[in-house]
Amino acid sequence: MAALPQSLESSQEQLLEQDIADHVTLGQDAWRRLRRNRLAVIGLVIISVFIVSALISFVWTPYPTWRQALGPTYQGPTLAHPLGLDDYGRDILSRVMGGAAIALSVGVGASAIASFIGILLGLLAGFYRGKVDLVISTLINVSYGIPDLLIALVLVLLIGRGVGNIILAIAVTAWLGMARLVRGQTLSIREKEFVEAARTIGTPNAMILLRHILPNALGPIVVQATYLVPAAIIFEAFLSLLGMGIPPPAPSWGRMASEGYKALELAPHIVLMPCAALSLTVLAFNWVGDGLRDAIDPRMKR
């Protein structure tokens, strides 16, 4: 009998200690959960590998990405060229590395711009409601009615095919989902007590939006922005496949695949190597996105 209170007391102490240990910020908490998610960690590792090879490709690749006739054209993987040579005798490994730089900059760039547009319009629509909301929501709904690839293709036709223009064309079609998400979040957060309190003490609207509403919607925004990266990478590959992507000799993965397509049966490695790099990158980002979603809001876990 005497042992019971003691053990209770010690377990209470333990609880208290745990409470103190658990006193972490939201971000740290999410990071801890993310680290425990095996697929998300694998995804992060894969992404890091691609980021590192993309960075290296700026200063060094095994062979120049544009140098032709390095050996027999269509040659399969050998020791000197681990991923083989393409139809012009260019080294595929070098080109896949260069392609990583393009894919990642397009993916991250387009995701950043699209997120910025989406967050801005979503905040405005959700906060001011009324006419502002009507205009923005109509814009979103009409744009949803057109396949985004068509808009991007026409935009590329209008503004040209540089890397910056491609990023812009993708971003202009990709912000819809983000705007919808942020608008919904804003609509619900703006009714919370702390927003009302802020308004009562005369906080300007801009401050309420940036300091009170935006931080509270950040979780879903980060998840959505993560999913936007692989979507933009696939999109760039689509544009390249259709001959409207970043112009040659830049080694974009989509272009490499479309160039190798004509020799698919003869030398499948020309198509498969960039496709594998692309699919792996997209898969890694999707794993990280899923992990983030579960880590930031465990209730959303499927």
Binding site: V142, G145, P147, D148, L150, A237, M244, V271, C275, R302
Partner: protein, 314 residues
């Protein structure tokens, strides 16, 4: 179909037409802001011919006037004439290509729904077993591999092996026109989205399977097939149907790439060709058709709801 449904459908049809006109107007105006004219290209025309051609296409008028003429044509179902192949009327051309694209799209939707529902249902029934984990992993992988990569893989896995196995008697060249040429592009187009449907079906099946009426069905001693397919799946499908709209837009986007890769004479291939040829009249026409197609597809999806769930009425 009840009277309410008909009125609802009619309203939606009006809205779809308005959207199609607005969308194509925006594209029309955007394209007419491009410098130069559509006939300016590498080949030199003599000034008199060029003037005659510009006049033929009304391109010598200021753009607001061209726009009025174009809208008048559109309201009569006339989208004008191709800039590259003079004399080719766009409306019949695009109508013909639409039937091709719709055939391919429907086949892809069938792949998506069938594969996705099957995988999702099996994963839900065998929740937390290796079957479930395998199906869920397959879903993320399937979704991450874009349609054109599926296309390359499927071509590699089917075309040459079939040719070899049948001793050269069965050679399926990629293209269009024969029924046996449909499955490969349809699979490539449908598989990435099948993964999304599988995920959703699984989640929604897991919810439905725990409902009282499903337990009752089991308790009555019904066969597993009947309980799962007729009692559970039918209700689990309702949230799945709601994603079909965006999914069809996605399949249409994918079809632009797949049609180009497989040389299928559909709307998507026409769009890419006309953009590369700067045949602006066709570009605008394809936009009109796509806006209408997406609208009609979404309407069709919304009309499926009341069939699945009699509680939903319009």
């Amino acid at each position: 179909m009840s009277r309410g449904t008909l009125i609802y459908a009619a309203q939606r049809l009006v809205l779809i037409s308005v959207t199609a006109v607005v969308v194509s107007s925006l594209v029309f105006i955007g394209i007419h802001q491009l410098p130069g004219n559509a006939l300016a290209s590498e080949r030199r025309l003599n000034p008199a011919t060029e003037q005659a051609l510009l006049h033929h296409y009304n391109l010598d008028l200021p753009w607001p006037q061209q726009y009025v003429l174009w809208i008048q044509g559109l309201l009569h179902g006339n989208l004008g004439e191709s800039l590259v192949n003079m004399g080719t009327q766009i409306t019949p051309l695009l109508l013909r290509e639409t039937t091709v694209s719709v055939t391919l799209g429907l086949a892809a939707v069938c792949v998506t729904v069938f594969v996705g529902m099957t995988l999702g249902t099996i994963a839900a029934i065998r929740q937390n077993t290796w079957v479930d984990y395998a199906a869920s992993t397959a879903a993320v992988v399937g979704y991450s591999v874009p349609s054109f990569v599926w296309a390359f893989l499927l071509i590699l896995l089917t075309v040459a092996p079939f040719y070899n196995w049948t001793g050269g008697t069965f050679y399926e060249d990629i293209g269009w026109g024969k029924p046996e040429q449909i499955p490969v592009p349809a699979l490539a187009l449908g598989l990435p989205y099948a993964a999304i449907v599988a995920r959703l079906t699984r989640a929604s099946m897991l919810e439905v399977i725990r409902q009282d009426y499903v337990r009752t069905a089991w308790a009555k001693g019904l066969k597993a097939r009947i309980v799962i397919l007729r009692h559970a799946l039918r209700n689990a499908l309702i949230p799945v149907i709601s994603i079909l709209g965006p999914l069809i837009t996605g399949i249409i986007t994918g079809s632009v790439v797949i049609e180009t890769l497989f040389g299928i004479p559909g709307l998507g291939k026409e769009f890419v060709t006309s953009i590369l040829d700067r045949d602006y009249n066709i570009v605008i026409g394809v936009f009109t058709f796509y806006a209408a197609l997406v609208g009609l597809a979404n309407l069709a999806v919304d009309l499926i709801y009341p069939v699945l769930d009699p509680r939903i009425r319009y």
